[in-house]
Amino acid sequence: MISTIATWLAALIGGGVVVLSLGTVVSAVRSRRQDLAAADRTDRVRQALFERLRRDEPDWATWVETLSPAERNEVRSLLDRYLRTISGEERAAFLSLARALEIRREAIGTLRTGDVYDRRRALSWLAILDRRVPPRLLLEECTDHPLVREAAARVVYEHREEYPDAAALGTRLLVWDGDHVMTTTGLETLYRLNSRGSTPLLEYGETNAHDWREDVLVQVLEVLGRCQITEPDDAYGWIFPLFDHHSPAVRVAAVGAFERAGWRTSVRSTLPLDTLFSDPDPRVRRATYVMVAAWGDSRAKDRLLEAAREEVDTRTRLVAFRCLLELGEKERTASVFGDDPTWEWARAEARIADPGLTLDWDEHEALESAPELEAEEGATPTSADSSATDPNTGGDAGE
């Protein structure tokens, strides 16, 4: 009986192998032919498209009617590529071609009927086409899956001028209930929505942050760290308690959120810098050094110098030295740390990265004593404080 079963199984599998192999070969041959035909079709369609584009009246509707389904797909594929990159008059022409192909109507219909994949694809189209999607439709049909919400938020961002409160709507779609981590594309959309005049993310955080997952909270703080925020200082209030959060990742992100807030005197005076400089986790201390370096004023430099002296973790200390070099504090740091190996290393690295930025101490001395250079230095304002808003402007540039 076992033999009989094995024989039947072998026959069945043998048959399966034959069918699968034949199917694979047929598919390979067909794909190869389709490739050749597609290459030919792409050339033909592209030529016809650009030929019509040059006309005063392209009459896309008539042209579209003459196309086969495969050619229409080819046109859609070309449109998808061009609408993402091209602006100006040509874009307007491509948009009218998209209208002739009824892509928008089809995409709107898919939002109501499609699954996650279909709706994401439809929203990608709606983001690059003209005209916004009604907010009600987005909120009714595009909120059941985080990836669909991200795609919907992108539609809002791309048509931001057409929505009364695009930043708030997009932010709500992206962060939602704070229970789903965003993709980096979603983070970029969130950042762009909140970097244009107002930052509703701050207000959204104030109301909802306590309900968010920890990793979502970290993501939001990272986004805030990149935004140019114009809201009043008290909008930051909900972030301060996060410096005591049990998770180092949250503390790091909370510090990062203040990187661009150095100009706010009240924020700076409220920040618990002593606590942050002595945080048990070196990642938090590193983030603090970077934040202070981004502020870039003389007090920040003093704090960094002090931190470099106290710092016990070599990697973190190296970060402190790199920050000091970026702030143009080479001479002062060298006078304190002399031939400290970590300092020497930071200086040597910087010298290779930008030979003009960090000349050798001896070279610097020699240059200082040169009368013509002294005159030039006198004419150039000391860049240490002038670099306060841009940490990448090396203070030693004046050398």
């Binding site: 009986m1 076992i2 033999s3 009989t4 094995a6 024989t7 199984l9 072998a10 026959a11 599998i13 043998g14 399966g16 192998v17 699968l20 192999s21 199917g23 694979t24 070969v25 598919s27 390979a28 794909s31 190869r32 490739d35 998808d80 993402r84 994949y117 994401r120 694809r121 990608s124 983001a127 690059i128 991200e150 795609a151 992108r154 791309e158 981590v181 993709t183 980096t184 594309t185 983070l187 970029e188 959309t189 950042y191 990793d215 970290v218 993501q219 990149r226 070599t314 990697r315 200390r317 190296l318 190996p341 970590t342 020497e344 290393w345 040597a348 690295e349 290779i352 990265a353 030979p355």
Partner: protein, 477 residues
């Protein structure tokens, strides 16, 4: 002789031949059942892939400030002829934020000089203050123009070199890449995709390894893919398709991926440091690392994902001679046994979830014991047949079943290739791959089983050597 059809359970216990046959049969079912399960998972994964591949989210991919920085760490030992071209190719990758860290692992040829000359490297004066848990570092060189660093250290092996790079870099992601391999320009972005889509849970991803033999390259881009004439390479081509497109895709889908190829894998730097980096005395450090990573994260109770992606490809040269291939396969088998032995405490443990209950037992019973049992079968079954202890019709049916299943799995690998990535897009190559998938059962598989036995014996004797890989070289135009 007792015909199989007349066997009954009572007589079976007393009959050694029938007992052995039954054991083989059960084992055969377990192995092929596991493979078929993995293939079903692959089909589900590939279906999702096909559906999602034409969705490109709107957004600024290259200007996205949230894309994580990557350190591509390239261990190099005596790579003088190829190293400059390899690094030049890496410098043109499509990715907004990456640095290349070449670790010259005590090369005795002119690898370091070739790098210094090609990229005008300057030595960073002084000793690196960051402690590198590796053989002593002799010097660090930086390029003034590119994000390129060369660590020159004393020889300590590949794992040791990777550790030096791992602890040197400040980038949040760590990409291990073989110096003699070529990755495609968009492959870094593709392999990092899970870190972009699920940034807080993805800890490791790996790309597919494909055969460079027979392909031609121009400026680091594969220009023409075809199968070479060498029969051994053709067997490996069919084998790699099966292993990567069916095996790893399916294992990844099941949350059971235990290997990310050392030739091309990306990891979260902080997590690798948490577990102490690569194990330097492991024979297959890449597998050992991933198993340890699973255990660490499960022990810590952290949600995580280890993902395999078939689209990003690293092209590498595979052995063209039997002796070199035998040496490679013996080492892989010793490494597999070594890793399973090191992590025996997790095998079958419910605490380790699917890794403990499926992945590790699969690697133990199917990948490790499978070839050994198969090797015994090649001798024992014909022997029993000659002695007349096996029914001829059963023997032939079983043989046909074994060959059929083996060919089916190979054909599935080729089929997945044709419906997805189509690197081998010539129908003639597809036919050749299917043919070699069938031939494999009669020659290549028994030979591999024999090498597995040799590897097992070497492992028991304490052999931990790497062996040597003789390379013919890429067809670089």
């Amino acid at each position: 002789m007792t015909p199989v059809s007349e066997w009954i359970p009572g007589a079976l216990i007393g009959d050694l031949a029938s007992l052995v046959t039954l054991v083989f049969l059960c084992y055969f079912l377990v192995i092929n059942g596991s493979y078929l399960t993995i293939n079903v998972a692959s089909i589900a994964q590939i279906r999702d892939h096909v559906r999602s591949r034409d969705i490109e989210p709107v957004g600024n991919r290259t200007g996205n400030p949230f894309v994580p920085g990557v350190a591509i760490v390239v261990p190099a030992f005596n790579e003088e002829p190829v190293i400059a071209d390899s690094i030049r190719s890496l410098l043109t990758l499509e990715y907004p934020a990456y640095e290349i860290v070449v670790v010259n692992d005590g090369s005795t040829d002119g690898t370091l000089d070739a790098l210094i000359e090609a990229f005008d490297l300057e030595q960073v004066s002084g000793d690196c203050p960051v402690s590198l848990p590796s053989a002593p570092c002799r010097g660090v060189y930086r390029s003034p123009e590119h994000e390129l660093v060369v660590l020159d250290k004393e020889n300590g092996g590949k794992a040791d070199a990777l550790n030096a790079g791992l602890y040197f870099t400040d980038r949040p992601l760590f990409c291990a890449l073989d110096a003699d391999s070529i990755i495609e320009h968009g492959a870094l972005y593709d392999v990092i995709e899970p870190f972009l889509e699920r940034p807080t849970v993805t800890v490791a991803t790996g790309g597919a390894v494909r055969l460079a033999n027979g392909c031609s390259f121009r400026n680091g881009i594969v220009e023409h893919v075809s199968l070479p004439e060498n029969r051994l390479v053709r067997f490996q081509a069919a084998e790699y398709l099966r292993a990567f497109l069916s095996g790893r895709v399916g294992l990844s889908r099941l949350g059971s991926l235990l290997i990310i190829s050392g030739a091309f894998g990306v990891f979260r730097t902080d997590v690798l440091r948490e577990i102490g980096g690569y194990e330097t005395d492991s024979i297959t450090e890449d597998m050992e690392l991933v198993v340890r990573l699973h255990r660490h994260l499960i022990d810590a109770g952290e949600p995580y994902e280890v993902t395999f992606l078939a689209r990003p490809v690293v092209w590498t040269e595979v052995p063209e001679s039997r002796s070199v291939l035998a040496s490679q396969r013996k080492r892989w088998f010793r490494g597999l046994l070594d890793t399973l032995w090191r992590h025996r405490g997790a095998i079958g443990r419910r605490r380790y979830g699917i890794v403990g209950l499926f992945a590790l037992p699969f690697f133990l019973f199917v990948e490790a014991l499978g070839p050994l049992v198969e090797g015994v079968g090649y001798f024992l079954v014909p022997f029993l047949f000659i002695l007349g202890w096996i029914d001829p019709s059963f023997f032939l049916a079983f043989l046909a079943l074994a060959v059929g299943l083996s060919t089916l799995l190979s054909a599935l690998g080729v089929c997945f290739e044709v419906i997805t990535y189509r690197r081998y897009d010539e129908p003639r190559d597809v036919v050749v791959l299917l043919w070699y998938g069938l031939l494999e059962a009669f020659s290549y598989r028994p030979w591999k089983a024999y090498q597995s036995w040799r590897g097992a014996v070497e492992y028991l004797r304490g052999n931990h050597s790497w062996g040597t890989m003789t390379r013919v070289g890429f067809d670089l135009e």
